[in-house]
């Protein structure tokens, strides 16, 4: 679906009439109150009829309070509900869009769309319906001022001119806001980051104090820039202190003269002063416009994510088969660049196949096609005779596992990062043992239940979790440079497990190491996105160009 301002508004439609009506009533109360208060005072002075005016004032105030209570609940219910709905939708689109869907977005940018922009976007409905209500008090005040006495309205505008004059005098001297503060702060942060990369050295050498003073040499500079930012604020603070009373005094002075002439009553003068204050709220209307603009921007940011298409999956199960993988004229083109060029290959089921080639040869794209992490631009990839897009998602993911050079672990604990079904199931344990991850996991403070953020791991340990995660696949295992950070001892153990694998799965191993290629049944040699050769390592080894691949 496409996401528009209207769609966001429609989601909150149950609440919007209520929010709009209470906002209008509140505006009405705000507008009526000065007049009622003025009449009450006149009635008090006149000594008659004040009971009725008091009663009206009480009713007005009570109505205002009830409306604002309703507004709080309705507004929150609407915004909280819409925010959650938008967020769930954003998450679904990012996750279902697959790795290609959001390739052009930074992770941090996507997160800010979900955490920050979604709240702004959810304001779309309430902001639109209350905009009208927000215009009522200031505009109504000016009209009422003019009704009480046209000269009062003239005085109001005179006051506004005075205010503009004062602001102009001040504005001339307002310096540009200093960026230096943020820059200094960034420099301190980067010095700290630098020290943290060497924290083990620092702790061992006992040089924390020295590091501390090295990082904090910039602190006095930060202090200096910080003081400057307050001085800039001081100007606007002083402006506010003068601007506030100017309009009020202008209206009171003109109104006073009218009072002397008996054209208005004391109560009306009071009402006029209050309308002058309300009328000055005209400036804050920019806030309302700003809120709508922010909501529009938030909706726009959400819409970009909503336009990411989800990966389509078929409904077919996989027929029984050995895991035969077929590339049928598969080509991948991104923009003008051809990443894989017309690849046709038939990989026998159950074989161990190494994928080699210089960097940029298209090895990872090849692996991604095999695991259906992306689809070829033209041509197709088939597993046991069924094109991958036709296979049901569950069946596909049960059949194919994929491990990466830099696995990103997703889950709240180590256990669910390996298997998201349940912690410590037989499957998790078996996978962790097979990939030699069990030993180091069981030594973590809470074993498999150790929260991920509190389990600092080396690149090799991460890779082993990534392997464990992919291990249960029953038909095809794709390892995209997935053992590169392991020390030689561990790598040896894992490649042994791989070759002795009793599941007879097809294994596709992207590698830079000739030993791995030598152990494989067949080698796919890629170059510039094209298949250079496909055959046993020993045959290819005769070719000096092949040997050069391993540098």
């Amino acid at each position: 679906m496409t996401m528009t301002f209207g769609a966001v508004m429609r989601h909150g439609r149950g609440w919007l009439p209520l929010i709009g009506i209470t906002a209008l009533i509140q505006s009405g109360v705000t507008l009526a109150l000065p007049a009622v208060l003025g009449r009450s005072v006149d009635a008090i002075v006149a000594g008659s009829g004040y009971g009725r005016w008091l009663w009206i004032a009480c009713t007005l105030v009570a109505t205002g309070i009830v409306c604002s209570l309703v507004d709080v609940f309705a507004g929150t219910a609407c915004v909280a509900g819409t925010t959650a709905w938008l967020r769930h939708g954003l998450v679904r689109h990012v996750v279902r869009g697959g790795p290609e869907g959001t390739r052009n977005h930074e992770t941090g940018d996507l997160v800010s769309r979900v955490s920050g922009n979604a709240v702004d976007a959810a304001q779309a409905g309430p902001a639109a319906v209350t905009a009208l209500a927000a215009v009522v008090p200031p505009v109504g005040s000016l009209v009422l001022l003019a009704i009480i006495d046209p000269w009062l309205a003239a005085a109001f505008f005179g006051g506004v001119v005075l205010v503009i004059g004062v602001l102009w005098v001040f504005a001339r001297r307002t310096a540009e806001i200093s960026l230096a503060y943020q820059e200094t702060q960034g420099r301190i942060a980067s010095l700290l980051t630098e020290s943290l990369t060497g924290i083990r050295t620092i702790l061992a050498a006992g040089t924390s104090r020295r590091e501390e003073s090295r990082i904090l040499t910039l602190l006095p500079e930060l202090h200096k820039h910080g003081l400057l930012t307050w001085r800039i604020l001081a100007r606007s603070g002083a402006q506010a202190a003068i601007v506030g009373p100017l309009v009020l005094v202008a209206v009171l002075a003109v109104g006073g003269l009218q009072l002397v002439d008996g054209r208005i009553t004391a109560g009306e003068l009071f009402a006029a002063s209050q309308y002058a204050v309300l009328g000055a709220g005209l400036g804050s209307l920019t806030g309302v416009i700003g809120e709508i603009a922010r909501a529009r921007a938030g909706v726009q940011r959400a819409a970009e994510v909503y336009s990411v298409e989800s990966i389509a999956h078929g409904t077919l199960p996989l027929p029984a088969g050995p895991g035969r993988l077929t590339f049928d004229e598969a080509t991948v083109v991104v923009g003008e660049t051809v990443l894989l060029d017309n690849l046709t290959l038939d990989i026998p089921g159950g074989a161990t196949v190494a994928v080699v080639g210089p960097s940029g040869a298209g090895k990872s794209v090849f692996a991604a096609l095999a695991a259906r992490l992306r689809d070829p631009t033209t041509g197709q990839v088939l597993l046991d005779g069924i094109p991958l897009p036709a296979v049901h998602r569950r069946a596909l993911r049960t059949a194919i596992g994929c491990a990466f050079e830099r696995p990103l672990l997703v889950g709240s604990t180590i256990g669910d990062a390996i298997s998201h079904h349940a912690v410590n199931t037989v499957r998790t344990l078996a996978a962790a043992r097979a990939t030699h991850a069990h030993d180091f996991i069981s030594r973590l403070p809470h074993g498999y239940r150790t929260p991920l953020p509190r389990a600092p791991m080396s690149g090799g340990e991460r890779q082993r979790l990534g392997l464990a995660r992919a291990w249960p696949a029953n038909r095809l295992l794709v390892l995209d440079d997935a053992t590169s950070s392991l020390d030689t001892a561990t790598e040896m153990q894992i490649s042994k497990t791989l070759t002795e694998d009793r599941h007879h799965r097809t294994r596709l191993i992207v590698t830079h190491r000739p030993a791995t290629a030598a152990h494989a049944d067949l080698v796919i040699w890629l170059e510039h996105g094209r298949l250079r050769a496909f055959g046993p390592h020993d045959d290819l080894w005769q070719d000096p160009a092949y040997r050069e691949v391993f540098g």
Partner: protein, 562 residues
């Protein structure tokens, strides 16, 4: 919450706070004069004395300028209060991070410290404004008609007190909301960063649930905050609206007692222009900035490590390493990494530790260097437990070079003489030459050149760390996979330099070739261990044979030196 409030209160015990209070006095004047001016001006107009009325209004404008001058000074003084507080927080975060190595400290430095800075300043300003308004209105009312103050001020204070009580209710909910917010950002970052992995695992539903939980928690927290906002509206009804209506209700009685029309209007003006905005601002600020301040400052203070207990300073003799029944586990529920290990490394020995990664080799290095304490058993360094040695003595006894080499922005020389600041140029040059870093130092532009750590490769960083360790005064050198990014030939040169340096060398091996150069080898396998030399281990340790078998000549990666 007490801790956070007293932290803020301490920051206020400064001369700047007094100056801020003093400069607030000019601002009281226009506030106090507001109602008085309206009252007298109205009465003058009613009496037909137009110019007298205008004069009162003119006086109001004049005091407004005075107030503006005060306000200008107040902001300046505010900086003098807030910046030292920020400095202190930056210092705390940096100091804490350097003791715990917590990477989250960088986020704390940028975001959380700024939130505390802004909210603290906001709170000081708002509370000061509240006080200025209250004092101003009170002064004005007392000079105008004390009896009006009697009707207006008590309900106002009652409403204010009630809103303070509501604050306690809000704190917990606000904390939940902020927590859900952070959790949302964290889980979303994890799931979005790992979309490729989620797709590969078919874990789409799992990821949606993972991020969905904080989304729903956040919505729930917002709804529950709405209840607090509703209570706040009721507090405002008491503190803001009740005084107004009471004043109207007793109006006839007041007029009967000789209170003028102008005075009654002045009273209403104080409530509408003075008290109501002040109350709503202070309630909003305490409910939002105040809670944000408490919660965020709490985070920063919580992240501070407890102060180290004073180390009993004992003198060590020599640098022999002796382990007896050493056992170490990362938590009470965790399997031990090392169990019941006995080992003696005599002075001048050259030991290599081999075994699969994650088996506890780095843990052993950390234990020997006194970075970790044994769970049970004994570890003696020069005859005493490392935990009983002073940091300086420890640094003079052993040097640890971890896998992740530390290079900082500074000159090459500063980086190299990090562990021996008064090293002579010839000493530095000799160390550089010994570990084979000569070409690197030349490329960087000599000892005086500045290093940009990001521009060095992992191997080049390791060369700098090695030269630095070579220069250290410590006789015991522990290389914890410190040469893993060097090629085998450079690794050989560096290890041989350390072996020839004198003192003891312990190498946690990344490649088996390191073991072949050592005098003795410790093979770690699960929590079993075997010690010996190459010949004996070939006979006694199946794991050693297996490890070695993979690198027999003819294999591609490493040609053992033997």
């Amino acid at each position: 919450m007490k801790r956070e409030l007293s932290y803020g209160a301490t920051a206020l015990k400064k001369r700047a706070a007094v100056r801020l209070a003093v400069w607030s006095v000019p601002e009281i004047l226009p506030t106090a004069l507001y109602g008085v001016a309206v009252a007298h001006a109205t009465d003058s107009f009613l009496a037909g004395q137009a110019w007298q009325g205008i004069a009162w209004l003119g006086g109001l404008v004049a005091t407004a300028f005075l107030g503006a001058a005060g306000s200008h000074q107040v902001y300046g003084r505010l900086g003098e209060l807030v910046e030292p507080l920020r400095d202190d927080l930056v210092r705390r975060v940096v100091r804490g991070a350097l003791r715990t190595g917590d990477d989250a400290a960088v986020a704390r430095l940028n975001r959380q410290v700024e939130i505390v800075r802004d909210t603290f300043a906001g709170l000081v300003l708002v509370i000061r404004n509240f006080a200025v308004t209250l004092i101003g209105v009170l002064t004005g009312l007392l000079s105008l008609a004390p009896v009006i103050a009697g009707f207006v001020i008590p309900p106002f204070l009652l409403g204010f007190a009630a809103s303070l009580a509501v604050l306690g209710l809000a704190a917990e909910r606000m904390r939940t909301s902020l927590q859900a917010d952070e959790e949302l950002a964290a889980t979303a970052g994890m799931a979005f960063g790992g979309v490729r992995d989620v797709t590969a695992m078919g874990a789409e539903e799992f990821a949606e649930r993972l991020v969905g939980r904080p989304i729903d928690n956040q919505a729930e927290a917002e709804r529950s905050l709405a209840k607090v906002a509703a209570l706040r509206t009721l507090c405002f009804a008491i503190g803001g609206w009740a005084p107004l209506l009471i004043l109207l209700a007793v109006g006839p009685w007041l007029v009967g007692r000789g209170v003028s029309t102008g005075t009654l209007l002045g009273g209403l003006t104080y409530v509408l222009i003075g008290l109501q905005p002040a109350l709503s601002t202070v309630m909003g600020a305490l409910g939002d900035s105040g809670l944000r301040y408490v919660v965020t400052l709490g985070r920063i203070l919580d992240a501070q490590p407890p102060t180290d207990p004073a180390r009993p300073v004992v003198e060590s003799r020599g640098h022999q390493v002796k382990l007896r029944g050493l056992t170490f586990a990362y938590g009470p529920a965790a399997e031990p990494v090392l169990a019941d290990l006995d080992l003696t490394v005599t002075e001048g020995d050259h030991l290599a530790v081999v075994g699969p990664s994650g088996i506890g080799k780095s843990t052993l290095a950390g234990l020997i260097c006194g970075m970790l304490a044994p769970t049970s058993g004994r570890l003696l360094l020069g005859g005493v437990p490392p935990s009983e040695l002073s940091t300086e003595r420890l640094a003079q006894t052993r040097v640890l070079i971890p896998q992740e080499a530390y290079v900082f922005s500074g000159t090459v020389r500063e980086n190299l003489s990090y562990l021996l600041p008064d090293a002579t140029s010839s000493e530095v040059a000799q160390a550089v030459e010994a570990v084979g870093a000569g070409r690197l130092v030349d490329r960087l532009g000599g000892l005086g050149a500045r290093v940009k750590p990001n521009e060095l490769s992992a191997g080049e960083r390791q060369l700098i760390a090695l030269a630095r360790a070579y220069l250290s005064p410590a006789p015991l050198v522990v290389l914890d996979e410190a040469t893993c990014f060097l090629d085998p030939e450079a690794e050989r040169r560096a290890e041989e330099a350390f072996a020839a340096r004198g003192g003891t060398l312990i190498v946690i091996a990344h490649r088996i070739s390191s073991a072949l150069r050592a005098r003795r080898i410790l093979v770690l396998d699960g929590n079993k261990a075997a010690i010996g030399n190459h010949t004996t281990l070939l006979r006694t340790s199946p794991l050693y044979r297996e490890l070695l078998g993979h690198w027999q000549p003819g294999s591609d990666r490493i040609q053992p030196a033997s």
